[in-house]
Amino acid sequence: MPPSAPASGTSRGRVLVVDDDAALAEMLGIVLRREGYDPAFVSDGARAVATFQQLRPDLVLLDLMLPGRNGLQICADIRTQSSVPIVMLTAKTDTIDVVQGLEAGADDYVTKPFKPVELVARVRAQLRRGDTGQAESLSIGDVQIDVPAHQVTRDGAPIALTPLEFDLLVALARKPRQVFTRELLLEQVWGYRHAADTRLVNVHVQRLRAKVERDPEKPEVVLTVRGVGYKAGPP
């Protein structure tokens, strides 16, 4: 299927669908188009990264089981080049696969079989990221967060975070005294209404810690509250 041009100027964002199943890809296209997105397709894993570089989509829908190249590898490759939101499509609910995908850099995942509503909710939540910028500056420990500029610095040195990691950090920093349960974070950061997989939170907190903590083994920015969830470290 050739990459389709933007249908109109009112597109809500370009979505690159990386999937080898033609029927599913087409169906995804139909659903996305109905919701006002501009889908583009690539069915061959080997060409996925090249297509990504060419099209610069606003979001990637990535099937983890692809011929040619492993979906995890593609995910990791895209993540090295861009902080674009990545939503995995996975047929496996086994922990290892989901966690591996998240660790490879995916922001969220949808388990097959999913309904259009679920998919659209995930896509919408990821694309909405970063819209809520007000002029505010936050800090946790020695980490400074400039919210409108999407900049995180420590001692003046910038720390590169994906939009999701940024939102996670901002959510914690805005209410420094509150302990966030995983469910609350899922709702605030990922946009889940009902309970979802709390591993999303765990994996991304680990990724975030790997970037912002001096020693991820002894976190000072994102603290664990045993049995409850997470909270920001002292400012």
Binding site: M27, D94, T95, P113, K115, E183, A195, T198, G227
Partner: protein
């Protein structure tokens, strides 16, 4: 509390100084529960303390010896080699001791026999000589008698004989009057009285007795006594005694004895050594086999024994290897099957899910647009959507249970609060409860309950239980209760529906089992929900149990350990509702 107080009083108590340092006992005292106030019992208490100390010291000593004895017993039971060695040594020692005793007795007997024969012969010769010497003795003249006797004694000594050195005693007896003549002092008093009596009576006799030697040391000797015939008719008589010292024989016997003893000891050790050696030859391969079997049991399936020769041990090794081979094959085969099953599960998962996703999305699009269709097509779209949901639920459950069957399910415990978890499930089930016109009554403990659980699985169990209760609850309220003890948390889900017979209760966790096959399905469960819940509970090391009474409803109880991996001993909530508050309405 009270025990401590009492102990400190005991330290200050006046009696304690006389008895010695009191014993402060912190051990359990089972008889304290019903004891009268402590003040009245103080002296008794101290006495008991001392007695207890003594008892404890005795027990400690017993324990110590017991421990040593136990170690010996253990070594005895554990080592075949030790056992065989010890038994061989014991048996060999008994045999050797008996044999050497017999041998020694015989040697001694023969030695003495020879000596005795020689002594008797010599004394007979001596008597003949003495007879000629004393034949002309002047009986009245004591000086002549003495000189004759002395001469005869000297002559006898000079004569010597085959039986070696000896001493001579001659006694001249005239009525009650005795005149001895001796070759050496000290010999005469050592003559046994009964021997003398016998000789006086006119018989030749011999005895063994101890006679002092030159240094006065008593030496075992053979004493032969005989009357010397004199002129008949006279009232006088002469006796002659020969004392043959047996020191030479004694020295010989001592030498033989020590030789026999040393030989015996060497023999015993040698036999025991052979026993141990032979056992070792047998035991070593058996030990190797035991070690191999143990390693095999630990999972080293490639473990084999070396086969040497064609004896019994070689046969043992061969059969062991055959068994190991069989085991390895079986296990490898089973592992391959299990892998195949897991692989199959995974493949089915992917292969079925992708088209199902497409179909479901298509159905959803049709469903959304059903307003534009004519009624039959619109209804078809609705049915398609609804049945696809059921299909998906069934597929999910099937895959889940097959994952359990393949042993591929893993627990991801994480400490979390259970109250919010219960609340989430209840919130999620609210719309279903509303549709059934049934209230969900939640009762949570005031304090937070944190347990190391796999939240996804626990939520799934609860959703199943609550959904089940709503479906079978006939619109009566469903009660969900959470409680915790120090080691476990329990959640009960109680409905007041048709209830369960005990027959039903045995089957509720069976796959695809339905209490009443004719009943309408409303929740649209797959029939696997409770089976999966049971597996989920088991994976946590927890319990999922059911109580039911026809007409009274049913109660499911999920009990989980607070610390993942710890053993459950009891549940904080009863399985059976304490009172049937809402009986058959």
């Amino acid at each position: 509390m009270r025990r401590e107080r009492r102990s400190s009083r005991g330290l200050r108590g006046p009696v304690s100084t006389t008895i010695g340092p009191p014993v402060v006992d912190r051990g359990p005292q089972p008889d304290d529960g019903s004891s009268p106030p402590p003040s009245r019992r103080r002296p008794v208490q101290l006495g008991r303390g001392v007695r207890r100390r003594v008892r404890r010291a005795r027990r400690r000593a017993l324990v110590r010896t017991g421990r040593g004895a136990r170690r010996v017993v253990h070594a005895w039971r554990a080592s075949l080699q030790l056992r065989v060695g010890a038994i061989t040594m014991l048996v060999a020692a008994v045999v050797v001791v008996i044999v050497s005793m017999v041998l020694f007795t015989q040697i001694r007997g023969q030695l003495l026999d020879v000596k005795q024969q020689a002594a008797v012969d010599q004394s007979l010769a001596g008597v003949v000589y003495a007879q000629t010497e004393v034949s002309g003795i002047a009986t009245g003249d004591s000086a002549s008698v003495r000189s004759t006797l002395s001469r005869t004694v000297e002559g006898l000594q000079r004569l010597g004989g085959a039986a070696g050195d000896f001493d001579v005693v001659m006694v001249y007896r005239s009525g009650e009057d005795e005149r001895p003549a001796v070759s050496r002092r000290g010999v005469e008093p050592a003559l046994p009285a009964d021997l003398r009596a016998q000789v006086t009576g006119g018989a030749q006799a011999y005895r063994y007795a101890r006679v002092p030697d030159l240094r006065g040391e008593p030496v075992p000797s053979l004493i032969v006594g005989a009357p010397v015939p004199t002129d008949p008719g006279g009232g006088d008589s002469v006796e002659v005694y020969f004392a043959f010292p047996l020191d030479q024989e004694q020295a010989n016997l001592a030498g033989i004895r020590s030789t026999v003893a040393i030989t015996s000891a060497v023999l015993v050790l040698f036999v025991a050594g052979i026993g141990v050696l032979v056992t070792r030859l047998v035991v070593d391969p058996v030990r190797r086999a035991a070690g191999s079997a143990q390693r095999l049991a630990e999972g080293h399936l490639e473990e084999r024994l070396a086969v040497r020769g064609e004896d019994d041990l070689a046969r043992l090794a061969t059969s062991f290897n055959a068994m190991a081979e069989g085991l390895q094959q079986q296990i490898t085969q089973l592992e391959a099957l299990s892998r195949l099953q897991q692989r199959f599960t995974s493949d089915v998962s992917h292969e079925l899910r992708t088209p199902l996703t497409t179909v479901q999305m298509a159905a959803a699009v049709l469903h959304d647009a059903r307003g534009e269709f004519d009624p039959a097509v619109a209804r078809s779209a609705e049915l398609l959507q609804a049945e696809l949901n059921r299909f998906e639920a069934l597929l999910t459950d099937l895959l889940e249970i097959s994952r359990y069957d393949a042993g591929a399910a893993t627990l991801e415990p994480e400490p979390q609060e259970l109250s919010p978890l219960v609340q989430r499930v209840v919130t999620g089930m609210a719309s279903l409860a509303e549709r059934h016109g049934c209230a969900l009554l939640v009762s949570l403990p005031p304090r937070s309950v944190i347990a190391e659980v796999d939240g996804r699985r626990v939520e799934r169990v609860l959703r199943n239980l609550v959904g089940n209760a709503i479906e079978h609850g006939r619109g009566e309220p469903v009660e969900i209760t959470l409680a915790a003890s120090r080691s476990a948390a329990a959640i009960t889900v109680r409905d007041h529906g048709v209830g369960l017979t005990s027959e039903d209760a045995q089957h509720v966790f069976d796959r695809f089992w339905r209490a009443d096959p004719s009943r309408v399905r409303t929740v649209g469960g797959s029939g696997l929900g409770l089976s999966i819940s049971l597996e989920d509970a088991r994976l946590h090391g927890g319990w999922l149990q059911v109580w039911g009474l026809p007409g009274e409803g049913a109660q499911f109880r999920l009990t989980l350990p607070l610390v993942a991996g710890s053993e459950l001993t009891s549940s904080p909530l009863p399985l059976r509702p304490p009172m049937l508050s809402r009986g058959q309405a």
